[in-house]
């Protein structure tokens, strides 16, 4: 495994107290690089907003229209207020996933710390949005299952009997959402990283393999895009389920 590990290009001495080791961890430095890139591009694109957009403004407008289109189709007309969270998560994940294409850098999302942080942010956010929209007691009543919603007496009794089972199933499924969001992104991007680095390593042994490198780069970009899309769509569905599902 040492042969296909990319040694980090940037080693910053550790100035944060409480973190072991001599250097700041790789995934943190790569996160800073992605942040710097995104902030730089956003600043350059919004410096002079004109009615007829130039190149960068046009690109950014297309990206924002894609996000708001998805939010509108899944949440409805109130989806616009979740654009900061969903848009930043989507763009950050996409550019983190393709960072391996630059020599010397690794994907921060290939580390379970980054993906677990993203999944926890989404988890806390959608519960917060649900409580803010519906109130704490109404939101917690949705965990009890279909209790008071049936007109006939027998079905109401069955609703009350099923409450313990329903609480257990709902809690476990919500915790499984965090697990699946983080591990899906981590597993896909770590596998992609390893395959990419392995192809480059094989090139040192059998030089004709280098013709595969453009194909693998295309695969890296495709997988990065699909995984970012999946993360964003699932987060939007969780927000829609928590805050905006069937108004009675």
């Amino acid at each position: 495994m040492e042969a296909i590990e990319a040694p980090p290009l940037i080693k910053i001495p550790n100035f944060l107290p409480g973190i072991p080791g001599a250097f700041i961890p790789d995934h943190v430095v790569m996160t800073w690089i992605v942040m710097a890139f995104l902030i730089g591009v956003s600043y350059l694109a919004t410096r002079q907003l004109t009615e007829v957009p130039g190149l960068m403004q046009n690109v950014m407008e297309t990206v924002i229209e894609a996000f708001t289109g998805m939010l509108d189709s899944m949440i409805g007309h109130e989806g616009r207020r979740y654009l900061p969270l969903i848009g930043s998560a989507g763009l950050f994940i996409f550019f983190s996933n393709i960072l391996i294409l630059i020599p010397g850098l690794r994907c921060p999302t290939a580390n379970l710390n980054t993906t677990a942080s993203l999944a926890l942010i989404v988890f806390i956010s959608y519960h917060f949005f649900g409580v803010r929209k519906q109130g704490l007691l109404t939101y917690l009543k949705h965990f009890l299952g279909p209790v008071g919603e049936f007109p006939k007496f027998l079905l109401i009794a069955m609703g009350w009997i099923l409450v313990p089972a329903f609480i257990l199933v709902e809690v476990i499924s919500h915790l499984a959402r965090v697990l699946s969001l983080s591990i899906r992104l981590f597993g896909n991007i770590f596998g992609e990283d390893t395959v990419f680095l392995f192809i480059l390593f094989l090139t040192s042994i059998m030089w004709p393999i280098y013709v595969l490198a453009p194909l693998i780069s295309g695969l890296v970009i495709f997988t990065g895009l699909v995984q970012a899309l999946i993360f964003v769509m699932l987060s939007t569905m969780y927000i829609a389920g928590a805050a905006h599902h069937e108004e009675h």
């Binding site: 699946s180 591990i183 899906r184 597993g187 596998g191 699909v226 769509m233």
Partner: protein, 120 residues
């Protein structure tokens, strides 16, 4: 013809497998510890990943074929069907990724290897 090919493949696998056991025993004798645990975990990781990939591929094939059939019946619903298909594929694939995670933990971060190697 098919039974002959199966016989040849089985013969090759048996030959390779028996030499693997011999290598493992020789390596263990050199290191002075019982290496049964290690080659069993490597086999488990490999076979587990193979089975997970095969079953995930079959499930994704069913999902894609159903989505394509739906798109062929109603081309103006193709966008929504494609979105649902992509989400379904990612959810099925994540189950195979869980098995990959277990295989990676077994191979590179094995929690019991220190006990086995540094044992009595």
């Amino acid at each position: 013809m098919r039974s002959k090919l199966t016989g040849v493949v089985t013969g090759v696998l048996a030959a390779v497998g028996s030499t693997t056991f011999a290598w493992a025993a020789e390596g263990g004798a050199k290191a002075g510890i019982d290496t049964t645990y290690f080659w069993v975990t490597v086999l488990t990781a490999g076979f587990g990943m193979a089975i997970a990939s095969a079953v995930a591929a079959l499930a994704q094939a069913r999902a894609i074929s159903a989505a394509l059939e739906g798109m062929a019946r109603q081309p103006n619903a193709a966008g929504r069907i494609q979105t649902a298909m992509i989400i379904g594929l990612a959810l099925i694939e994540s189950l195979a990724i869980y098995v990959l995670l277990i295989a990676l933990i077994l191979l590179f971060a094995n929690p019991f290897s220190a006990i086995i190697v540094g044992g009595p």
